[in-house]
């Protein structure tokens, strides 16, 4: 499990990415899958970038809390990301124009493509993003 709280600054995104990567590389189920590690690192990076740019509007005053857990019984990776900035409005989201390209809108699109689930909820004091990735088969007792 990884728990970090870090100032919401662009120059610290690389620290978040490397912390998440180091944790993922300790998981036997994923250590030989660099694409999967890259995709998860990118997903966390994109959510944190959104938080810094939109929730905190580059004010350098906020923080981001990240919790990464791997559930070995279900082979599921769960990443919870919290901030205390402005809310995210899904209806204002810009979708990418994949045929012609556009300046923006790719961040959440990428996250949705590389994960199994992305959930957002507004809490009493901030925002909570939950990222889920199934890393292997789930074995259930019959």
């Amino acid at each position: 499990m990884v728990d970090i709280v870090i100032p919401a600054r662009i120059d610290l995104l690389v620290e978040i990415a490397s912390t998440v990567r180091r944790f993922l590389q300790t998981l036997p189920i994923i250590e030989q899958h660099p694409q999967l590690i890259y995709n998860i690192e990118l997903a966390v990076h994109e959510i944190c970038t959104n938080i810094i740019t939109h929730a905190y509007e580059f004010n350098n005053a906020g923080s981001i809390a990240i919790n990464v857990r791997f559930y070995s019984l279900t082979n599921q990776l769960e990443i919870n990301i919290y901030d205390w900035g402005k809310p995210f409005y899904a209806d204002q989201r810009r979708l990418p124009d994949l045929e012609h390209g556009q300046e923006g809108g790719y961040g959440l699109f990428i996250v949705e493509q590389v994960l199994d689930s992305l959930c957002y909820r507004r809490t009493a004091t901030g925002n909570h993003w939950q990222l889920i990735k199934q890393l292997g088969a789930t074995y259930e007792h019959c």
Binding site: Q35, T49, E99, H100, Q102, Y106, F109
Partner: protein, 111 residues
């Protein structure tokens, strides 16, 4: 019969990127792109050595593409060699939006 012959010399700018092309690198990228686009509208963006590519980098690339096209120029991109970064290029269909070349030499030979 009269024949008029003309030779056109094109200046081609080459932007070579490496490591992380993400939101933290945007300011440096924009400065370099502005500097080159002030001199030419023909551009090669060499991303072969880029290991990490995010949505902010993508937006910056599209910005440069638009500026070049507005000036009737042309742009070629050498995508990352790193497989993980390259797959994101396919996922977002950037490989269809941009004209790509396998290497800088190959891109230069087209013009």
């Amino acid at each position: 019969m009269s024949i008029a012959s003309q030779t056109k010399v094109i200046n081609i700018g080459i932007l070579t990127l490496s490591d992380r092309f993400d939101i933290a690198a945007l300011s440096t990228f924009r400065q370099a792109a502005d500097h080159i686009l002030a001199q030419t509208n023909y551009l090669v963006i060499d991303m072969a050595a880029v290991s990490f590519f995010d949505s902010a980098g993508m937006a910056a690339l599209v910005n440069v593409l638009k500026r070049v096209r507005e000036q009737a120029g042309d742009i070629r991109v050498v995508w990352p060699i790193a497989e993980a970064a390259r797959r994101i290029v396919s996922l977002t269909k950037f490989d269809r939006v941009f004209t790509s070349s396998p290497s800088v030499e190959s891109a230069l030979s087209i013009w």
